[in-house]
């Protein structure tokens, strides 16, 4: 959480603040100055255009304010939007930096080879780049079938390419958001409640009396309305219980912080369940009416006492009892937060199940202050012919494994691209839309092997992210402030839609994602699937079906609709049919038992760090999203590099100093490409280190982000795969410190 000021001024207990003044007299010497920089502009002199944010995927509705010279001066939240309530987070406020980042991709690029055999990108026209990709798509279709063209997608424009690939005949797609992030949670909550928690999550933090965060770091994770509601909950005196080996921002704002030993969360959750069940603190009427399997559960957790959990988690039994009773006292207004990036140890679906079971025992699913029933607007599909039926899809890579996967698994797409894995259905070419795979996926050697193996890679992005370095063709995409996109229709308390329209014309020779997808579609003879000239026509048609219009939406940005599905919460004793096998909330999962998985979660012991190694924990900083913001001029200004957090005891052992640069090496011998500065802090346990994700970019074209900090992803080579849904657990990696540059030794230096 360093601002440049903070770097100078940071004051930590025990250590004197290092005062390095970077300020000096005005560099131009003395004399009177006529200011050249424009001062603030009055809002009346700016024209607002509606958008929804694309810096993260909370998608807050906003207004981009454009001045008379056609420059976007600022982006402010839409006051009517439940995702942001008129207040964007730092990333949304700094979203304007995505447009004015001078390092942006400016023209299409095509990989070419010089006479000496070295490769380079040459600038190309749109026609040449599009023709080349379309020709390659045709070739793959003829040689291997359309299914062999794979898609990695993320974010709003990713959907346009999903549409293109389906029209072309492929459902060989995967996005990191599932198997590398939220997937286990989806499987856990669906198998328990027959419903997903969605995004924004249907957590009723606004009205909660008790918020429980298991490794979830709201406040550093700036998912906007959630953070706002947490702040409201603090105002209202809600109890906040945070379980984290790190003294997170949320932990600092909590009534109870449980500094758990990493990788033992399931034991704590099961002990909480034990206390609720054996002290008779669970909601008996709710459990009787809505759930299935209490007797199994009772039997299962009999030995899982707080004393049992103490030996595993290091949390004192009395603290476990006290916090369980605090939850019961607040029930049903308790949010056991389901988390978001939950791929940790490979038993993550089971951890999600334990959280869901706890939620059910507290009677908080479908209750005020617990979880509400969200409702979204069903936006009609713009008419097009039926998609062709592919001969095989992403499901076929799994070959019977991961039965509860509901989306393509990215690591399986990689393996399907490598002949030596001998998959029955192999992938020969990729389209990568809006995801920086080298920094978003674990097991970099696997990624590199797959990227080498495929015949062709086309990448679409706004920035020269590391992934573009692997491409044969690069499409420069217009930023979200320069384009139309699909209507936002995320479920919420009140169903609503939000419009994104261009605030300015695309800069340079960049083009909107929809335009690129359509141009490829036209070249592939798929015009019927792209039957419009401008995506605005699609949006206008959809809005008219919903009883509004593009014209109206341009004025309001967001529109709310009345609920059709009934109230936000269950009525007292109201009959309810859950979408599960038993029609009830499943404390005992019938499906899991059928598939041979534990029907009720068990704690599994995970390996501990070896001597001189420390568990790598990573997370977010509030001003950054993934690896996509590290070069943003506004946001890199707030935090330009990450650091590795080290407990003072560990720092003493290694004789590390604050700010010292070290390289990290993991248990498999992987070493970070760049050094990272040590941050000595009491906020992390002695058996772990912590890093903010998304730094250590290797593309020199990112002038601000190149070589700044180190990539945590490079240290994740041990992947703990969740057998239930294919999640890629990433917290089973251990690092040690290298104080000397590992490259210097034994390396020939060219004169």
């Amino acid at each position: 959480m360093k601002t440049r000021r903070d770097f100078i001024k940071i004051s930590t207990a025990g250590a004197g603040a290092a005062a390095i003044s970077v300020k000096a007299f005005g560099s131009k010497g003395f004399g009177f100055f006529e200011p050249k920089t424009e001062g603030p502009v009055s809002d009346e002199d700016l024209t607002p255009y509606p958008t929804y944010c694309e810096v993260c995927f909370w998608k807050c509705a906003a207004w981009a304010y454009v001045d008379k010279n056609g420059k976007i001066r600022k982006v402010l939240g839409n006051k009517n939007d439940p995702h942001c309530n008129g207040r964007l987070c730092p990333r949304g406020t700094g979203g304007v930096g995505m447009v004015y980042d001078e390092d942006r991709l400016k023209t299409p690029l095509i990989r070419d080879t010089r006479k000496d055999g070295s490769q380079y990108f040459r600038e190309a026209s749109w026609d040449e780049a599009l023709d080349l990709v379309a020709a390659k798509m045709k070739e793959v279709k003829e040689k291997h079938g359309p299914e062999a063209f794979g898609l990695f997608n993320h974010g709003t424009p990713g959907g346009q390419f999903h549409h293109l690939l389906r029209a072309y005949g492929s459902e060989s797609n995967a996005e990191p958001a599932f198997a590398n992030c939220r997937g286990p949670r989806s499987s856990a909550y669906f198998s328990t409640f027959g419903a997903y928690v969605g995004s924004p999550e249907c957590t009723d933090i606004r009205d909660t009396k008790c918020l429980v965060l298991i490794g979830s770091h709201l406040g550093e994770n700036m998912h906007n309305s959630q953070v706002q509601e947490m702040s409201d909950a603090i105002d209202k005196g809600a109890t906040i219980i945070t379980v984290d080996p790190r003294f997170s921002t949320a932990a600092a704002h909590s009534s109870h912080w449980l500094p758990i030993k990493p990788a033992t969360d399931i034991a704590l959750l099961m002990a909480w369940i034990h206390v609720l069940v054996y002290e008779g603190l669970y909601d008996k009427d709710y459990v009787e009416q809505y759930t299935f399997g209490l007797d199994y559960l009772k039997d299962h957790v009999k030995h899982m006492t707080p004393e049992w959990a103490y030996g595993i988690t290091t949390i004192e039994p009395e603290e476990i009892r006290k916090t369980a009773r605090a939850m019961a006292g607040a029930a049903p207004a308790v949010v056991i937060h389901p988390g978001r990036h939950v791929v940790w140890y490979g038993d993550d679906t089971q951890r999600g199940r334990a959280m869901a079971i706890l939620t059910a025992l507290l009677g908080s699913w479908g209750k005020r202050g617990g979880f509400y029933f969200p409702e979204g607007v069903s936006v009609p599909h713009y008419p097009h012919p039926h998609f062709p039926e592919p001969k095989w899809t992403w499901k076929d890579w799994n070959d019977g494994k991961y039965p509860l996967a509901t989306m393509g698994i990215t690591t399986e797409l990689l393996k399907a691209s490598i002949p030596r894995y001998n998959y029955k259905h192999q992938v020969k070419a990729w389209l990568v839309a809006g995801t920086n795979l080298p920094l978003s996926m674990p097991d970099k050697p696997l990624f590199k092997e797959a990227a080498d193996a495929v015949e062709f890679i086309a990448v679409m992005d706004t920035m020269p992210m590391d992934i573009t370095g692997y491409a044969d063709v690069v499409f420069p995409e217009a930023t979200y402030l320069e384009r139309y996109d699909v209507l936002r229709a995320s479920p919420n308390r009140e169903p609503n839609i939000a419009l994104r329209m261009p605030a300015i014309e695309p800069k340079y020779d960049s083009k909107p994602g929809w335009w690129i997808a359509k141009q490829l579609g036209e070249r592939l003879g798929l015009h019927e699937f792209f039957n419009y000239n401008d995506y605005a026509e699609v949006i206008d048609w959809q809005l008219k079906q919903l009883g509004t219009s593009l014209e109206e939406m341009k004025k309001v940005g967001i529109k709310k609709f009345p609920r059709k599905s009934g109230p936000l919460y269950l009525g007292e004793g109201e009959a309810f049919d859950f979408n599960t096998t038993t029609g009830k909330i499943e404390l005992y999962s019938v499906d899991f038992a059928d598939y041979g998985f534990d029907a009720i979660p068990n704690y599994t012991k995970h390996p501990e760090p070896p001597q001189d190694f420390y568990r790598l924990i990573y997370g977010r900083a509030p001003m950054h999203t993934f690896s996509r913001t590290s070069n943003n001029p506004n946001l890199s200004d707030l935090m330009s590099e990450n650091s590795v957090w080290v407990n003072p005891k560990v720092a003493d052992l290694w004789e590390l100093k604050n700010g010292q640069e070290v390289w990290l090496k993991n248990q498999d011998g992987a070493i970070t490409s760049f050094p990272v500065k040590v941050r000595i802090t009491e906020r992390i346990r002695w058996d772990s280190v912590y890093m903010v994700h998304g730094f250590g970019h290797k593309n020199k074209k990112l002038s601000r982000a190149f070589g700044k900090g180190a990539s945590d992803t490079e240290m994740v080579t041990n992947v703990l795969v969740d057998p239930i849904m294919g999640g890629t657990g990433m917290r089973g990696n251990f690092i040690t410190f290298l104080k000397e540059n590992p490259e210097v030794e034994g390396k020939e230096v060219k004169a």
Binding site: M1, S27, F33, G219, Q228, M623
Partner: protein, 177 residues
Amino acid sequence: MRYAMAIDTKKCVGCGDCVVACQTENNVPHGYCRDWIVERVDGTYPSLSLEFRSERCNHCDNSPCVRCCPTGASHIGQGGVVLVKHNKCIGCGACIQSCPYDARYSHPEGYVDKCTFCLHRVQKGQLPACVDVCPTKCLYFGDLDDPNSDVSLAIKDRKWKVLAPEAGTKPQLFFLT
């Protein structure tokens, strides 16, 4: 009329949104800022406390920066807000040295720049950009002379502190603890 601000350290998450919003509102060049975040950690694991503070000019009642300014560029404006007239500033930096809060910086064009409490917005009935954007609503702004203003209400029933009280500057930023 006396403009002031209260910052609730129990709610601030140190996200830095106030810094970015100030930059885009006031066209502060990259690499400089008028407001910033300080993180303070006390204690030893696991008995810890952590405080985030969104800091800026304290708009002091007894402001050394105004007193030491040789040209009168630094002055007290409406509601006690400390301001700099850019075209009267010679960039000597005396005010920067005199400020116990390090709240001023030398603009690349040579003059000294600082927080204005967004007076250009306040005069139109809007809130300062940082207050308006804050996702945790931990910033409260208003007129201390009005007992019903946001800032008066915020400090009424809460414990608060000011920074560097020993400097005798009578700062007008109140940190709720």
